[in-house]
Symmetry: C2
Subunit: 507 residues, 2 copies
Amino acid sequence: MITGKNHIGQTLKASGNTTYKTVNPKLNLENPTAFYDATTTEVAEAANLAWEAFKVYRKVSGKKRAEFLNAIADEILALDQELLDMYTTESGLPEGRAVGERGRTIFQLRSFADLIQNEDWRTNVFDAAQPDRTPLPKADLRKTTIPLGPVVVLGASNFPLAFSTAGGDTASALASGCPVIVKSHPMHSGTGELVANAVITAAQKTGMPNGVFSNLNGKSIDVGTALVQHPKVKALGFTGSVKGGRALFNLAAQREEPIPVFAEMGSINPVIIMPKAIEKRSDTLSTQYAGSITLGTGQFCTNPGLIIMVDNNHTTQFIKDLAAKTVAIDAQCMLHPNIKEGFVKNGDQIAAQQGVETVAKIQETLHANYAPSQITAVSGAEFLNNPKLHQEVFGPFSLVVKAKDEAELVSVINGLEGQLTGTIIAETEEYSKLHDIIDALEDRVGRIIFNGVPTGVEVCPSMQHGGPYPASTDSRFTAVGTDSIKRWVRPISYQSFPKELLPKALK
Amino acid sequence: MITGKNHIGQTLKASGNTTYKTVNPKLNLENPTAFYDATTTEVAEAANLAWEAFKVYRKVSGKKRAEFLNAIADEILALDQELLDMYTTESGLPEGRAVGERGRTIFQLRSFADLIQNEDWRTNVFDAAQPDRTPLPKADLRKTTIPLGPVVVLGASNFPLAFSTAGGDTASALASGCPVIVKSHPMHSGTGELVANAVITAAQKTGMPNGVFSNLNGKSIDVGTALVQHPKVKALGFTGSVKGGRALFNLAAQREEPIPVFAEMGSINPVIIMPKAIEKRSDTLSTQYAGSITLGTGQFCTNPGLIIMVDNNHTTQFIKDLAAKTVAIDAQCMLHPNIKEGFVKNGDQIAAQQGVETVAKIQETLHANYAPSQITAVSGAEFLNNPKLHQEVFGPFSLVVKAKDEAELVSVINGLEGQLTGTIIAETEEYSKLHDIIDALEDRVGRIIFNGVPTGVEVCPSMQHGGPYPASTDSRFTAVGTDSIKRWVRPISYQSFPKELLPKALK
């Protein structure tokens, strides 16, 4: 049972008058529960409670925090079919995806629980005293990390579990010792409330301080704005559009005390396909990429929205095949009417640009919110001249850029904004030609994939999910993988400290 | 011989009309050389050249970059007496300090040279492929770091060598693979030009690309503004005032592509002295702290500007002794007439606040720019009520806060802005009482010192020099020590990459 109310720590509140409902995109109907936008007072209550909780929580041992994270995982699993039903109802995604994403969410929570069983993740550093050093003795100095304070998380529409209420941002922040205030995504606030219940129950069962977690509803930008401006909020995690992420980044930078913002935003994820690869495995590649472009109805941040290759007869055939195979895949439901609307509008805008050819497009879909997949193509010269062609089209869409030669292909990469990923498809015999392409990609992306697809972001220590702006607002950190915990901590040194007073990590 | 011109890479230019001169603060006279503010065109030339250099320099091996850093150290040493004379002339600091600071600068350069001999500093992460994993195979994934791009460095007035032209910011950025553009500090631009010559010579001798280093003069804020706004500039290091650092941070955040700014700014470095310590070693402590307060004419960012203790008879005597010993130390020359003026103005402003007692002050100094040391005292209640008392007075000044009890002492710490350091002076028998104080300090500072003084910042891996705002603009990084290299790099992952194409760090 969900209430539509805000979790201010363990207390449910709904003192405001503004409400909203989520939508069942498959039925194109509103779901029944009215969610109450958190009021400014409720935001302040959550922030102040998080600050009080922080004083206690930052001293809670890693083992106890790990118990909390594992309990969250257990409670989420215990929601069972109720959660899967809510997820599919609010997202239009199939149940198999719900189960898979729940698995990823659980895996993330348990990965962080494992990570913080000991204090090694802090990369503690020790310098021994040198009392006899001349001209001055050297003091004993030890460095560890401590949590920043209450973290606000604004989750993604496209991963109602893994990048939302108890997703990677929340799991990493709680693991680090920071309380979390989630601003629930208005497209899946029912799923959000169920997961918030799980987190709160887990907090109570494992004895965590009240306020270690809050969940606030908000359809308007006011709730997010009030949260990022609150003095007791010390960092922010966001996954979503460039417009939204940048607005929050600006607010954070304008505070009297600026705070770090990690916003993972737009990306078109360029894929470079080399001539010999097209020659040798055009059929396999077009099948593979039709699948990657339409995966999750194209609603992945690593969706391959841009395919770049040198123009020749083979590529012409490849583009035709890719387009035919993409539109042959049954249209799927998008997350929300607004997302469907944006997909159509943005896709049409690209298609209407000078020199852009729509190679294939699903003309009619059975349901209101099903996505008409589209593959377009354009010359390298046109692409280089028209920044509008760099815009992300969130959904099953890709633009193929036909460069006249390899030099132009490299120019196209160099002209791109920052990206989450870049992919290279090449045959062994082409490796020696790839240096300029790799150099160009290194400068523009956070992860380079070889002979694969960009969709599928492994949760592991070596993952970098984040890249130069506007892929993210701070390319020095990752949003996925255990290293994402580093976003929420800062180093602190202890000089000449008595052992008994040192934090556990430095003893 | 210095020219007053700007180094745009290897080329000396002075196409502007605005000039300034440095001052000999001891003589209170201008030095002869006219320095030419870099024009907007020259700024753009330096930035574009740095970008071209970056394409080459980021691929230069660690061993070669280390040769460059060591050559810079050699060339600085080769400047010999000319550099020491210029340093003392422009800073008013004694030659012994010049020699010591030169040693620190050399040590920093050589430390980074040692660090980058191999690729371990990148904290490379490897995840092996699991081709048989179900439901999906896991790809081989490896993560390393790469440099961000051209870095702008705005050095500190108070360390013309160690935190300026070839100081810690420049050394760490060059070590990381980033070209550097220094905006020369207008108080020591002659020293800056000599050091810039050394860097340029070292770059030429070790075959580094032209543009790996530039040095631009600028007295007005225009040069710094143009630099931080240039699209080819990708990060900024600054040491100086809160006002200056915040202005640069704001400009960086307002760019179309925001860039990271690490600004190390103001700090009053609270020192907590516990009752038993005062009882047992008042005399030693007052001597030690009179020395720390006046060290370098109080012009250290870790200067103990705030001493907090519980008020009692012993502390009254301690404050008297500290004040008497502080003013008994001969007045020393400050760095510049403007700094002297600011010191007097800011010190007078604190002294004029309600409830503030000037315990002792040097009433007359022999020379215009010599600093009249001052020790003031105030009650905990007054301090808590008056944020003006939190302002840094850059120079030999300290405010002693007399808290009525330990609870008030903790409140005073909690009410402070972010700080570089906090210090605790306590006897063993008092350790059990320190938990609240340590908790409060952890939340406010980057380094906690036990039974010592905050002045003296060791260059070593475990050093944290940076703290919550306004001590620095990004508390997740340090300005001193080998970890400061992490400010200038970002992670990048390589998925399923052929070994021959991987960067050296991941092979």
